[in-house]
Symmetry: D2
Subunit: 331 residues, 4 copies
């Protein structure tokens, strides 16, 4: 697969490196609105820095990875589909449902392999948990608890443009919930507070949140978010069922343990997503290439992006109106 | 302290044994509506089996431990106060707020040392967690997660008389939440399902529940309950704050680990409250005697019983009306 | 069982308390060469302080617990046997084989229930490990690793009278090895150094030691000792076999875990034997009473004391002559 | 660095893959006495399959990685040095000291960057442990315990040609001991048994062994080896010192934990060296290239191979003569 990368920022660089190590994919070109960024990254991997337009016109390019800024995702996604290229798009497609639905419509008209960057589905731990649940290890799942905390809060200006904690951060957890619960979610209840940085509150957002989801059959799911866990990226999932419980816990660099003052000490969890989900980014590309080659759906697709956004919108509404929100209300 | 025990059932027996091992307390008598049960237990410890009436009239008895059936608690509590005896009462005082408030009024008029059987406050782990939070170990607490699952569901007839999961089971977690959050709780949101035993649903109750509490300053607390964890009593608390996280986890009989098929295997958690909270029952009696001797308030008192019941009532209302309930509504 | 206690020092006090909590045993009297110590302890439990002579002459006394200084053990043991009283004797019977053998001869002539204070056999963890091995959990045991470290070294004068690390400290591990290997040990190889306190070296002893044992069938056992583990009492056993491995690890007061600076921190191991083996002391008394009542052998008896001492002597000789020593050489 | 690979077997393939992913190194050619094996591997990476002779004659090749069969190591190592190429040689250089010393002499005459494949020095856990010891985390190290067990025994014919457990398997642990103790080892005591496969015994070898090392300053080190740990590759190190203890424990694929029947279950350790030391192989190549570029010594060199072999020979002699062996005896 000859793959072009749009977006040469932090996450773009991660993808470039992953692609470089993957014998199944060749990095074909890099584009970025900041020409310098594109050129610097392209030079590093010995490829061309070209415009996004040029990418969509280039018949030698099979696929596009969209890692540009969020407001450009939907446009690039549509152009990739219209030019018949497979596309792996960073989440979210857009911050509002209407624009997301438009993009999905274009995808329907121009069916291409379309994967969405819900990287956690590719995390070995969560994938093993999903598999164990599917294997009946815990019997019937009855409740699900997702703890998800970032190491440090973003600047308030980022928050202002982010669509809010539910659409920007918890959207990953909504996707995990959907993926693991594996049945329709019918109700969303959200609570949130601004406890970490008042500037986030002034920007109209919360930095600490708890959400309860209810599925059609009555399963319950709890999601906890915090924008700041001083000890690193806190990413845990607990699935409880009639025959037992599965817990995926935080990862550390090594299993080294020191015993002495101040006790029995193990390392802190890995710092952030680049460290924790390094393997996931690699598995994500593998899944994308594999899906494209086999003509099958990737592990996470555009529809998953839409559904996670609906949950985020429901949570936002629930927080605003201080009431549980039925998914039907969201449309 | 010469202490009489009212109630010779399962929990009464636990208390009798604990009292017997405590050099500060002498078991003075046992009463039970089932004379045989009282006599059998009394015989075991070489004491008298007498009526509850006789206990309250006996000037040689300093204190009463009420471990009889829930509907009798409030009456016995009032009579203990009226006869000037210290009292350790199993929770709840009553299943409704009005009756509970009456009992509190009598206690106000007849001030005696009154402890309430919220045994978890005396658990070494939760006590150490509380102390570490008080010591500023996690900075400002921002969220609290309480997982509390029983090993096996009670029979449906028990459920019918129990006041429901929130008043019967989660009331312990409400007390933990109040104790650890250490500031007023202003809002309660509950979700519940009947996923384990349909008979529980037919009895008008749920067997799986998730509740979110919000405090005056915006701290968030999640409580998960299940009536059946096939692996044993699941009792964990996680307190998260600006400077770190504290987790109290399940206890096992030993630290033995087997490595082989099917992996690295440690024991299941202790089976139920008698095993997990054995030390707590002993510490509870110590605290009661100590409070009585020093004329100080015990770690958990009648007011704590009232407040936990208000939270349970709020949760029940929230579940019923599918909306968040403000504590002010409960009165 | 009416039990008299000889020795009112640290370990005597532990036993007194354990006996007091055991409904099957009544503390009958306390003796100590220091009359004051005996009286103080006797007063605490409302019993008589009498001489050791008086204990052996008292027909109302069923059993004697010998917790006096080591050089008195053998004499008291013999007198207990001669007066027909059951006896629980702290280890060792004596510091030399000849004196130990004399005592065993008297026991043979006057058979009474005789238990030896190898408290670790009664530890719930090690007992569970033993049981799991017996149940075939690890198939054929092939190697055994015993880590045993004290929290702080004793004063050099104690060391001088102790018989040396092998007879004083590692003797417990020799007993564990014999008990778990469950077949004759044929060879002992010892290495030792003085790395902690030069005064221990000047007293002719080592403070750090490693011993390898070989059994008749070729199983290998490693024992590591240190007189000082700054983090507390380090008591671990690992049994490895054809079908897996069992590990008994250190215990902590609670399962509380803090995550933050400097990492994920759990408590240090329990400080020393009184904390770690509290349950074992209680189980030891139970086993003794039970053995006496049923006329069966206790879990550890006088012969076990002799055999552990033979291993210690072999280790001492191995260290001195820098060569492996066959048990046959010890006699 | 243009690197040629000699040896296209299992370990050769691992190295080829690692080299392919390393942007600092280019795989230049592959050689193997089995031409087909060389060609197959060469084809996979799009390089030439040539003879070893051709490699040494090719001026365009900077370095050679020797992953051929053990008896060929010393010859290839010498030829690499003589042709002025940097060399990374799988351990051991040879199975006997004389041949090893000859090779070292050639290296002295033709000084090139020479790294030896003691892959464990590059393991992130052991490297972190080494660093923590160097940082004074445990104060003065006093004892070291190395557990090292393979998942399954090799066939008896392999054993026959292997030089025996000490030279073939424990040699890695001897290197770890030397690296971590960081001072001369003066005495070696070995015990060994054949408990797993009688054919190994018939081949004159043991499959279970325990060795004690003593350093010049009296530090003690224990090494346990077994040829078969049914649960996977058991690779642990414990360093104990005056200020605490460091433990590097086994790694598992994920941190997933199941609680239910038969308990709290985590994954088994990674299966064997390819899984456990995957990162180490990559770090080993990095260190080699880096050492070559900077003209510094690699983390493990030819002299380390010689010293580990001396320890293995001492252990073999100790086992044979059933006595401790001084390193001085080995020459």
């Amino acid at each position: 697969m000859r793959l072009a990368l749009i977006g040469a920022g932090r996450i773009g660089k991660v993808h470039a490196r992953t692609i470089d190590l993957n014998p199944e994919v060749t990095l074909a070109a890099v584009a970025d609105v900041h020409a310098e960024a594109a050129e610097s990254l392209a030079r590093q991997y010995g490829v061309r820095a070209i415009s996004a337009d040029a990418i969509f016109e280039d018949d030698g390019i099979d696929a596009v990875l969209i890692a540009s800024s969020t407001p450009t995702h939907a446009d690039y996604l549509e152009r990739a589909a219209q030019s018949g290229k497979a596309v792996l798009c960073e989440k979210p497609i857009a911050l509002d449902l209407a624009r997301t639905r438009e993009a999905l419509k274009i995808l329907e008209e121009h069916p291409v392999t379309c994967a969405l960057g819900f990287n956690r589905r590719h995390d070995p731990q969560f994938a093993a948990l999903k598999q164990a649940v599917a294997d009946g290890r815990i019997g019937d799942m009855e409740s699900l608890i997702i703890i998800s905390r970032d190491p440090a809060p973003p600047p308030a200006e980022y928050v202002r443009a982010s669509g809010g904690l539910f659409r920007d951060m918890m959207i990953h957890d909504f996707d995990m919930a959907r993926w693991l619960l594996d049945e329709p979610i019918v109700q969303v209840q959200a609570q949130g507070s601004c406890l970490i940085n008042p500037a986030i509150g002034e920007a109209g957002d919360v930095d600490t949140a708890m959400v309860t989801l209810v599925t059609a059959s009555g399963r319950l799911c709890h999601i906890s978010n915090s924008r700041r866990a001083c000890y690193g990226y806190d990413q845990r999932i607990e699935a409880f069922g009639s025959a037992g419980m599965l817990q995926a816990s935080n990862e550390t660099e090594t299993r080294l343990r020191f015993t002495g003052e101040p006790g029995q000490v193990e390392e802190k969890p890995k710092w952030f997503f680049l460290e924790r989900y390094a393997q996931a980014y690699s598995a994500e590309i593998n899944d994308f290439v594999d899906a494209w080659q086999q003509g099958r759906a990737p592990l996470a697709g555009a529809q998953d992006g839409l559904e996670a956004l609906r949950l985020a919108d429901a949570a936002q509404l629930s927080l605003l109106e201080r009431r549980p929100v039925s998914l039907d209300e969201i449309g």
